[in-house]
């Protein structure tokens, strides 16, 4: 399988605080790669580094032969990388339709993209004129994903998409991620729920102290609970 994204030797900082140290990661085309690790390990920072939202002082992020670390942050999504941040970060005062429009303006193909995305999350179709801040938590998460998909990404970065959602919504989000894999979208998923990781991932990268300690196939993680115990502290 070819690589969708390759990160090598990445040092990332929040102000003067170094969070990622020589971070390495390879995302293969069409796979779901989960990042697992304790709080503060650097999972979210890894996603923000890809988007150019934190200061990267060394290393490379290569996508389609382009080094994303050399681009200004607003150019990164135009290369086909979409980001669903932790906590959704919707434009709460804008309507559902306006949130989608922001995604479409970046790279989408207008109505065709919009219809395809709404086909994946039909509940949003009934809420187009509603202010996004007034949606339920599950609907907000769907909108956050839908907005990102309006970019027509080939690489999708999902940061804890099931956080704080009720079980039925979690199932819906999981279905959507599985559906996107069918469509050939490569996904990096940061997730605290081990059950979600085991059901969705093709491979799992274990992050600790700002470094990727090892990346293994999900079957290995299923077969050996010690992985999760060692890096996340739960079994």
């Amino acid at each position: 399988m070819a690589d969708a994204l390759t990160i090598s030797g990445l040092d990332a900082y929040y102000g003067e605080v170094q969070v990622l140290r020589g971070f390495e990661l390879t995302l293969k085309k069409g796979e779901v790669l989960c990042l697992l690790g304790r709080n503060g390990a650097g999972k979210t920072t890894a996603l923000k580094s890809i988007m150019g939202l934190v200061s990267v002082r060394a290393g490379h992020i290569i996508k389609d032969g382009k080094d994303l670390t050399k681009l200004p942050a607003h150019e990164v999504p135009k290369t086909g990388v979409a980001y669903v941040p932790q906590g959704r970060r919707l434009f709460a005062e804008l309507t559902v339709a306006e949130n989608l429009e922001i995604g479409l303006m970046t790279r989408g193909k207008g109505d065709v993209t919009r219809e395809s995305v709404l086909g994946l999350f039909p509940v949003l179709r009934e809420r187009l004129s509603q202010r996004s801040g007034t949606l339920s938590g599950g609907e907000q998460q769907m909108l956050a994903m839908a907005r990102a998909l309006c970019i027509e990404p080939d690489v999708l970065l999902l940061d804890e998409p099931t956080e704080g959602l009720m079980p039925s919504m979690i199932a819906r989000i999981r279905e959507a991620v599985a559906e996107l894999r069918q469509r050939g979208v490569s996904t990096i998923l940061v997730e605290q729920r081990v059950d979600a990781v085991l059901s969705l991932a093709d491979r799992v990268a274990f992050i600790e102290n700002g470094q990727n300690r090892e990346t293994v196939p999900v079957e290995d993680v299923r077969a050996d609970p010690d992985y999760v115990r060692r890096y996340v502290g739960v079994s």
Partner: protein, 294 residues
């Protein structure tokens, strides 16, 4: 003069003031709303608009309307350019830090003011109104130009509202206002949006100034009152709220006009406005139409 005509005159004067104030404060509010920057040099953008209006209008011979129209078109563009340059050379270098930019815009205030003093001089200079028509109201004739100022301000505010709420540029500005980082993650060039908004805010102030110079003269210190009153308006209305800014400008403009005209006391009007600000800050710090920061 009996109470009826006096009250109508006071109301008309108040409306003119509210119109100019609303435009000026709208610029200040827009800059704060989108960029989270308190632009202390906003009054100097107003002053620069007025001074340029004098310079441009006197450069044209013939009917005063030619010079005035030229000033109305050119002065806001020049002031917008100055604002854009200030954004690039100063605010962007400070990474739009809210505290550092307050100090930096204080510096800008003095630089612009002293440049005006150096090149324009200390004299107050009049600009001729583009037309001289009296419109007959029930008790007296009233300046047609002042009515035009009210009309022009309404048109400009409607245009601003339209751009903000009905266009892609407005959508981008609002998205940047709500979440800068997420806007970047969706391909919005936030630096360019900030430069555009800072220029737009200054252009609104400059336009208000061009409209007002045929009523009050251009002077290098004339930026102080509009700045103070704009702050009063945006604090009462709620920083970043378009609706709040307009309503507060009407409130302050009308009360100022009515009290100044009926009781011959502009000081009393300013005292009441300041008292209102104090009450808003105590009982509703986010302003009448502002939202609490999350």
């Amino acid at each position: 003069m009996s109470f009826g005509p006096m009250f109508l005159l006071a109301t008309m004067e108040g409306l003119v003031m509210a119109a100019v104030l609303a435009l000026t404060a709208l610029g200040l509010s827009l800059v704060f709303g989108v960029m989270r920057i308190v632009n202390v040099a906003h009054g100097e953008m107003f002053m620069l608009g007025a001074v340029l209006a004098w310079a441009i209008s006197t450069a044209f011979a013939g009917h005063p309307s030619i010079g005035f129209v030229a000033a109305l078109l050119v002065a806001p563009l020049v002031v917008g350019g100055v604002a854009m340059l200030s954004e690039r050379l100063v605010l962007r270098q400070l990474n739009y830090d809210p505290e550092a930019t307050i100090v930096a815009t204080i510096g800008l205030l003095y630089i612009i003011q002293q440049l005006a003093l150096t090149f324009y001089g200390a004299d107050a200079r009049p600009v001729q109104a583009p037309f001289n028509v009296r419109v007959q109201l029930p008790w007296f004739g009233y300046s047609g130009y002042k009515l035009f100022v009210i009309f022009a301000a309404i048109v400009l505010m409607l245009a601003t509202w339209f751009v903000l709420t009905r266009t892609k540029i407005g959508l981008i500005m609002r998205a940047t206002q709500y979440d800068r980082e997420t806007a970047l993650a969706f391909g919005i060039p936030v630096d360019r949006v900030y430069a555009g908004v800072f220029a737009l805010g200054a252009m609104l102030a400059a336009t208000a100034a061009v409209l007002v110079v045929p009523i009050q003269q251009a002077h290098y210190l004339m930026g102080r009152d509009p700045l103070l009153l704009s702050f009063i308006v945006v604090i009462i209305g709620g920083l970043g709220s378009l609706r709040g800014t307009i309503i507060a400008a009407l409130l302050i403009g009308l009360s100022d006009g009515i009290i100044s005209t009926l009781y011959f006391s502009p000081t009393l009007a300013k005292m009441l406005a300041t008292l209102l600000v104090a009450m808003v800050l105590v009982f509703r710090p986010q302003g009448l139409f502002g939202t609490v920061a999350k």
